[in-house]
């Protein structure tokens, strides 16, 4: 009887304890594996950037060696100075900033106004026009690049800021994104405002825009990032270093110092540092914007 009892207790308790301790150590093991995998993946993503930075601080001798040194023995900013001597670095940074800010502001203002018209003002042909807008999203930008280049040549806009900015300032995407947000604005508020004698402009500026913060932030981030990183169009519409944006200047720099990787990497650091800083300070908007927009830079 006692033995039987004992046996039953064994049957009920010990295996369960064993099972639960096995389960918990399995769980811990699994968590450790998940972390190890994530850390490996994060290193894979981040380490190349550290290598870029490290290379940019090295002297030439430390770069062309078959057994790479992780950190420069004597970190030096000489590479950056060399670049600043050969390129108008501040001017190029200014160009990039001016072009990206101008494109972003134009995208925000004009897209928001157009989206407001589509979302809140009934007019004949609104639906058809919007479908045509959407259809332009399907056309790859390479289709328009040839006629645009011919147009810019004809207008004498090659090598000008307007040539860099205007072709990027209008897109159906911004209108599409903001229209979705504007549509959700409650009709009742607008009607109340109308009774108070508010014009469309007042409704747009005072009522609709203030509550559309997330959509506007998304468009800001997407426009700025894609303008800042844009390469193909600036490559063909700029000729002189004075008007170049960072990516184009960087490609030119590569041509000049083909094998001097410490110099090339210093240039790369200059190109990614501003956008990474911006990303780190507003990373929530970047992630939201990029995943909701589904567009890459």
């Amino acid at each position: 009887m006692q033995a039987e009892n004992h046996g039953r207790r064994m049957a009920f308790t010990t295996p369960r304890n064993q099972a639960s301790s096995l389960a918990s150590s399995l769980k811990i093991g699994r968590t450790v594996l998940v972390y190890l995998a994530l850390i490996a993946a994060a290193l894979f993503a981040v380490f190349p950037f550290l290598w870029m930075l490290s290379t940019s601080l090295k002297a030439a001798g430390e770069v062309t060696t078959t057994s790479p040194v992780l950190l420069p023995a004597n970190p030096t900013l000489a590479n950056y100075a060399t670049i600043a001597d050969a390129f108008p670095v501040w001017r190029i940074l200014f160009n990039s900033l001016l072009v990206a800010v101008a494109i972003t502001l134009a995208q925000l203002l004009f897209s928001a106004m157009a989206a407001f018209a589509f979302a809140r003002i009934p007019f004949r042909g609104s639906g058809l026009l919007f479908v045509i807008y959407l259809a332009t999203l399907m056309i790859p930008s390479q289709v328009t690049i040839t006629p645009l280049f011919i147009l810019m040549t004809g207008l004498g806009w090659v090598n000008t800021y307007q040539g860099l900015i205007l072709p990027g300032a209008f897109s159906a995407f911004g209108v599409f994104l903001l229209r979705q947000s504007f549509l959700s604005f409650p009709k009742e508020y607008e009607e109340a405002a109308n009774l108070d004698g508010a014009t469309y402009w007042t409704v747009f500026l005072r009522l609709v825009l203030p509550v559309s913060g997330p959509a506007l932030a998304t468009l800001t981030v997407l426009s700025f990032m894609s303008a800042w990183n844009s390469f193909l169009w600036p490559l063909f519409v700029t000729r002189d270093a004075d008007i170049m944006t960072l990516p184009v200047a960087l490609a030119t720099l590569q041509g000049r110092w083909t094998t001097q990787w410490n110099l090339v990497m210093a240039g790369a650091v200059l190109a990614v540092l501003p956008i990474i800083t911006l990303y780190l300070s507003a990373q929530r908007y970047f992630v939201q914007g990029l995943t909701s927009g589904g567009l890459k830079g």
Binding site: M113, P122, F123, Q142, L295
Partner: protein
């Protein structure tokens, strides 16, 4: 009383003025820099024009010339090669990362920030970085390979390895982007499905195959469409890393369009090629929409 602003009694011409005011600036911009260039490109694709001599109407000659242009076929082949290597890799790795990230973890934000660094960086900088990492003599990658006794290839200097190099850099850059979209999709799956499935004894691989993947299929579909459309337009990384070389072994469609337009001033021919690119993207998107209707599961 309140005739102007009240919509009910609003005069038609007043409303039209408001439409013109709100829509006008954007519409003019769209016409000048998008719609008219699109139409011009279509017309141009039936003509020959180098901007110096008068344009000449060719009819369909540009398109028939494409069919017998080995450079075009090579570029098309390389573009498909890129897609065949890039798309499965970025999807599988992105899904793996998203599954790892889709649980209660400390420091998830830090991982997310890390994975997104390549996504926000300019392609030119990333392409130069990988060109340096893959440098056959002094690059980090071949040095790491040598540590485990492998003699690394010539990467971008070897016609057989140039495209794999470009694929590697592209997967690295886009992985975080694909991961984030899939993660958002995973987080939208209701936990009830998992609870029900685990009551039925599903776990691990079976859970992934029978529950997660089918419920994630709308998101996967979205990622595939976007990645495919972007892949057809692959250019920046190719231009910077290999410029289509060595010996044309990594030249892609957009590279060929750019060469024809800006190097050889064959604007009509380049336009024709860009419309073929559009047709390819259009067909592939239609096929995917058709496939989606048949295979994608919605919750």
């Amino acid at each position: 009383m309140a005739v102007v602003s009240n919509k009910v009694g609003e005069k038609n011409w007043v409303r039209r003025l408001w439409v013109a005011f709100f829509l006008g600036p954007h519409l003019i911009g769209m016409l000048a820099f998008l719609v008219i260039p699109i139409l011009a490109s279509l017309v141009l694709s039936f003509a020959e024009w180098d901007l110096l001599t008068p344009a000449r109407w060719l009819g369909l000659d540009n398109y028939t010339a494409l069919l017998s242009d080995p450079n075009f076929w090579d570029a098309l082949k390389h573009t498909f090669y890129f897609i065949a290597g890039y798309l499965p890799l970025v999807l599988v790795l992105g899904l793996g990362l998203a599954l790892l990230m889709n649980q209660k973890l400390r420091g998830r934000l830090i991982f997310r920030v890390a994975f997104f660094l390549p996504v926000v960086s300019a392609w030119v900088a990333v392409a130069l970085l990988w060109k340096w990492l893959l440098n056959p003599r002094y690059g980090l990658v071949n040095w790491l390979l040598s540590l485990v006794g492998i003699e690394g290839p010539g990467w971008i200097f070897d016609p057989n390895w140039a495209m794999p190099s470009i694929i590697l850099a592209s997967v690295w850059k886009d992985l975080g982007f694909v991961m984030m979209i899939l993660l958002a999709g995973l987080q939208a799956i209701s936990p009830e499905y998992y609870e029900a499935a685990s009551l039925d004894g599903a776990a691990g691989w079976r859970m992934l195959r029978n529950i997660t993947i089918p419920l994630l299929s709308p998101t996967i579909f979205f990622v595939v469409v976007i990645s495919l459309v972007n892949s057809f337009q692959v250019f920046d990384q190719v231009y910077v890393m290999t410029a289509g070389g060595p010996a044309g072994s990594s030249q892609v469609l957009v590279g060929e369009i750019v060469n024809n337009a800006f190097r050889y001033s064959r604007f009509g021919y380049a336009s024709a090629m860009s419309w073929v690119l559009f047709a390819l993207i259009f067909i592939v998107t239609l096929v995917q929409l058709w496939l989606q209707r048949r295979t994608v599961h919605y919750q």
